[in-house]
């Protein structure tokens, strides 16, 4: 029976269950097909490679953890996780309008909550400081302060209609002149500030502080970052591993 290249490759993968008759077909095909013969060599190499990989010894605590995972508490956790994985149905809008009313103020609270959480996340240091400040012990107000405040509040209020000391000294025309001068100064001062603001380089928000660490091994990055870098760089990320396993050789120059 003649097989296509794809069927032969499937059989190479399923080699464990290939019968003797199939082996003859496979061998016949491989003898006449260089591409499949190369595929077979690579497949055999991969099998050999996997077979020669060092077997990792399971950690000693693994059996204990497996047993613990079967206990009731973990079963509950799994049940909760399974329920969460089912997904949540969105509440239909009609329900909200019917039961909460269109202008119910409670409908605005989720957005407010979201905004507050977002603000906290944007400024985690400030949030931490606020939280710690709130945890500080509150000092009791001294009795003397209470007494002074009470006395101040009990004092009768006297409102003066006289002008401010500076203007009180000046005659009426001079007072008007002073007011005009102050107005002109305020006008020009404001205009100068506007002009300066429009020509000043945009300072923007302060630069976000980042804690930067430099790593050599892609393993110290997250798995997604390591995968991305390995693919983009053509496999350079594996160089250190390969070099450690390399057989002695002269220094590698530029491409042959």
């Amino acid at each position: 029976m003649l097989y296509s290249c794809q069927e032969i490759r499937d059989r190479l993968i399923e080699r464990a269950v290939v019968t003797a008759a199939h082996e003859v077909d496979v061998a016949t095909h491989l003898a006449g097909c260089a591409e499949c013969a190369g595929y077979a060599r690579r497949a055999a190499g991969l099998l050999r490679g996997f077979g020669e990989l060092e077997r990792l010894v399971p950690p000693a605590e693994l059996p204990g953890r497996v047993v613990a995972a079967c206990h009731e508490g973990y079963l509950q956790d799994r049940a909760v996780a399974a329920l969460e994985a089912i997904g949540r149905l969105e509440m239909p809008e009609e329900f909200e309008f019917t039961h909460l009313g269109e202008h119910d103020p409670r409908r605005a609270s989720p957005a407010e909550l979201e905004a507050r959480i977002d603000a906290d996340l944007r400024d985690p240091q400030g949030q931490l400081q606020r939280r710690f400040a709130m945890r500080l012990e509150r000092l009791a107000v001294p009795a003397e302060l209470d007494a002074r405040v009470a006395a101040e509040l009990a004092r009768p209020v006297t409102r003066s209609t006289a002008p401010a000391p500076l203007l009180r000294l000046a005659p009426q025309p001079a007072r008007r002149l002073a007011l005009m001068a102050a107005g002109i100064a305020a006008l020009f001062g404001g205009a100068w500030l506007v002009v300066r603001g429009s020509f000043a380089p945009p300072t923007g928000e302060p630069e976000l502080a980042l804690h930067v660490e430099y790593v050599d091994s892609p393993a110290e990055l997250g798995p997604m970052a390591a995968l991305l870098l390995g693919g983009l760089s053509g496999g350079i990320t594996e160089y250190e591993t390969l070099a450690r396993a390399a057989e002695p050789q002269p220094p590698a120059g530029e491409p042959r």
């Binding site: 990989l53 997604m224 760089s233 396993a245 590698a252 530029e254």
Partner: protein, 348 residues
């Protein structure tokens, strides 16, 4: 002592000879050693040629074998390198496959080479689409690069090729010398030079056959991905609001999708400058797919200054940031400063 001095002098003399040969354009066609600054600059090729090069990457059916070479790190003498050959095939309709053929440098035990081949196979999509040189958009590319013909006619894998140089305008920190098959417009050889004019990477086809691959050929299969909606935070699709970078100058956003990988939901945004891609990935605070996945050890995901881990591999820089339970990954052929600026624009 005298012997050591003599050897040092001899090495210096040999080095000078090699430099002279290099400057004279000596060496084989595959050995790319001439500095890009010495290349003659002819007028830019017409747009029709550039468009044909752009279309050929996925539009030409072929199968062949090629050798890739990468300078690694630099080492003390700058001689560390990774080199391998691989079989590549494309059906001219977007399907492709890449298989490692031989790891040339470093020479390792066959089992190690097989594992490396397996890793390369798992990344063939990245390799074909993003590792390999290609013109992704001619208009965008002409805004980011200066393009010249070099006037050199090269023979690569028995095919007559015209050579072009692509130099990045920003900082002029990278130059590609590209040999293009005159008949098919397929790129058959690429040499990438860094700012100092040193060869950073190269790819050369050793043989190529222009024909549809055999009927039984296996092709790369993509992971399932869902396209994101432009200009929204895609909260409903991702389960968390996507924080898009607002500062990616010189690059166009060309692809945005949700992918599930590494136990998390990721938004993957792909930009390019006409040739080089740039990646931005974000996985939100509630982006875990399973209870077992977690942030990298040693990093507090919910408090403090955002932590960024930066690494380099060849011409690529990558930044991995954890902040408030979110993970961000940025990768591009740009400097660390540019990557961090893009990251800051997403975090603000």
């Amino acid at each position: 002592m005298r012997l050591a001095t003599g050897m040092r002098l001899a090495c210096a003399a040999l080095g000078s000879c090699a430099l002279l040969l290099t400057a004279c354009g000596g060496g084989s066609s595959g050995g790319a050693t001439s500095a890009p600054q010495q290349i003659v600059q002819l007028p830019p090729p017409p747009a029709s040629i550039l468009n044909a090069i752009a279309a050929a990457h996925e539009g030409v059916a072929y199968s062949g074998r090629r050798t890739l070479w990468y300078r690694v790190g630099g080492g003390k003498s700058g001689t560390q390198a990774l080199s391998y050959s691989e079989d590549v095939l494309s059906d001219g309709a977007g399907r492709f496959a890449i298989d490692l053929h031989d790891l040339v440098v470093p020479v390792v035990h066959p089992s190690e080479e097989d594992v490396f081949g397996l890793l390369q196979k798992s990344r063939e999509g990245f390799a074909f689409r993003f590792r390999d040189f290609r013109i992704r958009d001619v208009t965008r590319m002409l805004q980011s690069y200066t393009v010249h013909g070099t006037g050199q006619v090269k023979t690569v894998a028995g095919r007559v090729c015209a050579q072009y140089s692509f130099q990045k305008l920003a900082l002029q920190d990278r130059t590609y010398l590209v040999s293009v098959d005159n008949a098919t417009s397929l790129v058959l050889a690429v040499e990438e030079y860094d700012r100092q004019g040193r060869l950073a990477a190269s790819m050369t086809f050793d043989r190529i056959l222009y024909a549809a691959p055999a009927a039984g050929s296996g092709y790369h299969t993509d992971l399932p991905a869902t396209a994101l909606v432009p200009n929204t935070d895609n909260h409903a699709l991702l389960g968390f609001p996507l924080r898009r970078p607002t500062l990616v100058s010189g690059y166009d956003l060309v692809q945005q999708e949700r992918i599930d990988a590494g136990g998390r939901v990721w938004a993957r945004l792909v930009y390019h400058d006409g040739i080089e891609p740039l990646f931005f990935l974000h996985s939100g605070r509630v982006g875990h797919l399973s209870a077992t996945s977690s942030a990298p050890a040693g990093i507090d995901p919910l408090a403090g200054v955002p932590t960024v881990r930066v690494s380099r591999a060849g011409s690529w820089t990558i930044a991995h940031c954890t902040h408030a339970g979110s993970e961000y990954v940025l990768a591009g052929k740009v400097g660390e400063r540019e990557l961090l600026a893009i990251l800051r624009s997403a975090l603000h």
